[in-house]
Symmetry: C3
Subunit: 359 residues, 3 copies
């Protein structure tokens, strides 16, 4: 949390007119949901948008009170944008594309109150730290192998920054692993073979769980679940007889499909969520605030193996703009994760505890 150490968000917050807050986010990922939810809760909204996508967000002008147009994402953390956000007493909502677009250092040190904890950004940026975090939280993760180690079944080899289906490969033998890593070294993807993370490819079905930890209500809510829709992996089976061996499988997320889980799996899923919250409170005090996501494979013996997490709102929540089968168990009104964020800010605001939900 290098950057974060340098900034003093409490001081910034002290300068805010707390009766006149805005909610701001980047125009991408889950922005429409976040803005829609903020409006529902009565906040003014700010969208920071790239020039080339301005026309698109103007289609939703009724959801956006102020648009801050930037030439490129790099400008998001610029002094000018930061000042404009502060002038509007803005709480910034980081989403899954935020760190990716503006870079880890800028994200950590952006001097605007941010919903959630930014200390988790650095952990997420490192595959090994991430898996270590999950394991220490008491969450079942895939087995890791060393180069040259024997294994059964396929493995997935991930390089730093593997993202959205890029930067990894699947292998069946230790020789395939070696060859893939050698090629990554030659291609400059990695500079040391130790950077490659070799994980068991867990056989089962993928499932993603949307959690929300509320410091105000002191409870963890499960607000939804989804399956990612990935190109070309989720299309290949339709023509497999025609493409056997000729096409590489890829896993680029292009959308999401709703999912409900077998109720008997929910206690295990909830337990993982609670473990995540508790360990984050130990390791990254005050601990996770608001949305996070555990990304898993469910095996056919009912075991749930988590291979990834996201410390923020994930795009899969976009499915549930008017609530999910789970959110309605807690909230008797349409409650998206975007709206839930705004609700938490409102609750904090009302109780004079805004500093407990932003960093």
């Amino acid at each position: 949390m290098r950057g974060a150490d340098l900034i003093d968000i409490k001081r910034v917050l002290a300068g805010y007119d707390l009766d006149d807050l805005s909610i701001a986010t980047l125009g991408s990922h889950s922005a429409l949901q976040i803005l829609h939810g903020a409006k529902k809760e009565g906040f003014r909204t700010i969208a920071i948008v790239e020039k080339r996508r301005k026309w698109f967000y103007e289609e939703f002008a009724h959801l956006i009170d102020q648009m801050i147009v930037v030439d490129s994402w790099r400008d998001v953390a610029s002094k000018d944008v930061v000042l404009r956000l502060r002038e509007s007493n803005a709480i910034f909502i980081p989403h899954g594309s935020f760190v990716e677009y503006i870079g880890l250092d800028r994200a950590e040190s952006m001097e605007v109150p941010m919903f959630g904890i930014r200390s988790i950004f650095r952990i997420e940026a490192d595959q090994r730290m991430k898996m270590d975090f999950l394991a220490k939280a008491g969450i079942n993760i895939p087995r890791e192998y060393r180069i040259g180690e024997e294994f059964r079944g396929p493995v997935i080899v991930k390089f730093p920054g593997a993202k959205g289906g890029r930067g990894y490969f699947i292998a069946r033998t230790k020789d395939e692993v070696r060859r893939g890593i050698k090629k990554a070294l030659e291609d400059g993807l990695i500079s040391d073979e130790e950077e490659a993370l070799i994980q068991e490819y867990v056989i089962g079905v993928p499932a993603y769980y949307h959690f929300f930890y509320s410091p105000m209500l002191k409870r963890l809510e499960i607000l939804g679940a989804d399956i990612r829709y990935e190109s070309n992996a989720d299309g290949l089976h339709r023509i497999l007889p025609f493409v056997r061996g000729e096409i590489d499988v890829s896993f680029v997320v292009v959308g999401n499909v709703p999912l409900v889980l077998r109720e008997s799996l929910l206690p295990k899923i909830m337990r993982y969520g609670l473990n995540f919250v508790r360990y984050s409170q130990e390791r990254l005090p005050p601990g996770v605030i608001g949305p996070f996501c555990l990304e898993s494979v469910i095996r056919d013996d009912g075991e749930i193996v988590v291979f990834e997490f996201s410390g923020r709102i994930v795009a899969g929540t976009n499915i549930y703009l008017t609530g999910s089968p789970y959110s309605h168990l807690y909230w008797d009104e349409p409650m998206s994760v975007g709206r839930r964020i705004a609700r938490e800010i409102k609750l904090a605001q009302e109780e004079g505890k805004l500093d407990e939900v932003v960093t």
Copy 2:
């Protein structure tokens, strides 16, 4: 209906304070939906939960007025639990896990008024009786083969109690069938090869239809449809090039995905539902009450082949906690199957006909 013959639910009901009913169910399967729906209709709610899952249902304490904690499911039909349920004037809602968890005999003879007909439990417990029921109802079922009989295309061989992806195998030749059955005999899965049911594996796509027969409104409603999400069958295609021939396909249901049907298929689906109701009225008078599910494969010629049914609420309905694209055709309010059950009980209560919806 051996056990059911011994009990007199009408007498139990006579002792109830009908203005002060509770709705009770087991903490699993579709319990959250059932409890949520009961609350929506203004009932007090009771969840019978296993000790080890108590903490989980406490997360939803706002949906549960009374929790009856049992050491194991076997205690659900115990005298103590039954008395506590009766003290609360409880109508018990059996769901898909009920018979599985507490056993057929106990389920049939549990002396608490149960929504729906318990006479169907015994039919469901027997693969051949089940298929016979469907066939006699005038519903298209898969072709059955005898051991040694020639067939084209794959077959599925099911053993008694096949459930959630366990207890069956797929075979392509009659020799594979023989070998699989021989192994099942050796493993003690069956004691006689006649216990194995050899069915055509219907090529097409699976689809599950959620029906609700209302004795109060005297109408059949189609309240939703879903696709089951099965581990590992629904994940394997993502890495098929890497696992060819090395991994056994399994079909363990871990969740459900929403589905709407082509409207031109709906009349056939509805006809099947009506056939099911009519035949149940003949064979198991007064006939099916409330939710049931037909579980099918839709072939590419539009034919719908039903390979299974459930005489109760199925977990796929959990998708539609605030109603489905179909429920809104009947009800201008959010109507889950759980809530629909409570509504039917309320309608029966108001008309003094509670004995027409419980057994």
Copy 3:
């Protein structure tokens, strides 16, 4: 637009009592949604149903004020039906099955005010005109090959009237293409090999976008997205190890599954939608009115290739009877495409501009 040239809908409309309109459609495809939506907006409703399906639509009698029963779809455009529709001041809503069921000429010349432009029917009926329309609109389409031309990867060969998974095949080599076309000639599917359209089979995942262009609000709304559920293509992967090479893949749509898109793809999707509207205004003035659908494959490089469009409401919208994650961005009430159509008619009616939304 041969037939359409002969009729004068403005004259028919002049004879209508504009304060007493009905909304009419054919009993199939998305009729229940359309009727439900019309009711929600306060219109009287008319369903034209085939005799054999009358019983089914009677199950939804509460949504249907008048049922016009026909012996076969051919009678829909008969003088008798047309007169009855006019007597009720009916606006007819064509859906995806309309032209298919009653034929292009009858559809074009049916002398009842129709929501949307009928000039697009003829373009849709011809694969090459359709692809040409998309290309000229500035929408990315699959590459087309000539017979005998070399290609990489699979191609799909479509014959005129290819529909719902019938009338085409997939091929991997130019010899397979030749053989398939030769067979189609022999089978009488085509009379000239030039009728076959040979297209790149785009590798990726299918995705369908539901648009609505509102002449009243002068805006394009994206109201949803879906994935088609196709028999047997979407079931085969479950048993692939057992059916390798033995079963032909088919693509018969039997239902639809909800989908949300990655927000960063939405600008491209919206741009395609806007391009479609603008080009339709040039080529088929006054341009598209109400719902249309772009049918695409999303490649793993994020490119979106549109291989088909529908100029009317598509069945995938049936998923969203109470609105979609997208519709709620525009409308703070449950807004299906069926209801959106009725709303547009109401807006036009209120402003005395009904002639701007019907042809």
